[in-house]
Symmetry: C2
Subunit: 204 residues, 2 copies
């Protein structure tokens, strides 16, 4: 099945509804979504931002919080504002990159987002990540230890670099097999429609 | 009929597809769209930006140009990249504010956007604005003279201030009668859906 890259940061607010929606939306389109966490802070730094633009530009931040309230209410899912914001997603990202070939990896990512944005838990806490791994059916101790490997740290940096090469500047971002970039939770459907109309598999 | 405020800047790229779409989309929803040009530069300045963020952040700018190509292609309308970008929309905005009670005012706005983004004309040129007025069925000389009135200049500043009070930080932005703000061409439908579900008129 064709694959849509879903680049996100575990601290990113709009990545929460995207993570909740993408597996079902992709399945309906006959597409597999690859969950690819990145460290958005590194990309922000390259643009001169030392924290989330939602903190740097409070007017934009106020809009985002209200918008997230509306989006999650329309989806019928809980939403709490993380404190502090943004949360440090490094541990979660390393676990998810270390486990990227595991069938439960997307489920783990969703569980982390729920801990953070539905229950307000701090996702740098190993106990929170451990619970998310357990909920996803994985061996928590094994995968948290695995996350500390130098190869995993390098792989996360490589993922972030690859996102940058695709032109990613925010999250969530979706990249199609032919390299088209779509930015934002509300552009997921556009990315899937692009694949339906432009993918070489269209003619099957 | 309930009214949706459509705040835009004539130089704003995503305001072009929004202007082309909004009258029909609003009509289908039983809503009237008020075309309310503002001077986004004044709002950007308050955030510390001296030009469009698409110029300040080239990675974001590259995405925007590609995204506009895709959006306009999907709509089947032409798109050319204005040079220079952003265009100076002051004259067009003053004409549109001066004529805000005229039935042809939305049509004039659309004609300006077409000159700018479909044909690549410079919209600070009075000849371009004059042609847009004529195309909208208005007396071009009269309305261009009207645009120079101090009351019109004040009214445009007041519109920009009011947008700021609603939390507008970019364009296009849509504000519902109950004060909900939706930012971006791709959130027009969300704004109309909000009005359908939340407006006090829903119970009629």
């Amino acid at each position: 099945m064709p694959t849509l890259s879903f680049f996100f940061d575990f601290g990113s607010t709009y990545s929460y509804p995207a993570a909740l929606r993408i597996r079902e939306a992709a399945a309906r389109a006959g597409v597999v979504a690859r969950f690819r966490p990145i460290m958005l802070g590194a990309i922000f730094k390259a643009q001169g931002w030392v924290t989330s633009p939602f903190n740097l530009y409070p007017v934009k931040g106020r809009y985002m919080w209200r918008d997230l309230e509306r989006i999650t209410a329309a989806m019928g899912v809980p939403f709490v504002r993380p404190d502090p914001f943004p949360q440090n997603g490094l541990l979660a990202a390393r676990v998810a990159v270390g486990a990227r070939d595991e069938p439960w990896q997307p489920r783990f990512c969703v569980e982390v987002f729920k801990a953070e944005f539905a229950r307000g838990e701090e996702i740098i806490d190993p106990a929170v990540i451990s619970a998310a791994l357990t909920a996803a059916g994985a061996d928590a101790a094994h995968w948290i230890a695995r996350a500390a490997g130098e190869d995993v740290k390098d792989a996360l940096r490589a993922e972030t670099d690859e996102a940058g090469r695709h032109g990613v500047f925010g999250a969530p971002s979706f990249v199609t097999p032919d390299g088209e970039l779509f930015w934002g939770n509300d552009r997921l459907e556009a990315a899937l429609a692009w694949m339906a109309h432009r993918s070489p598999r269209r003619s099957r």
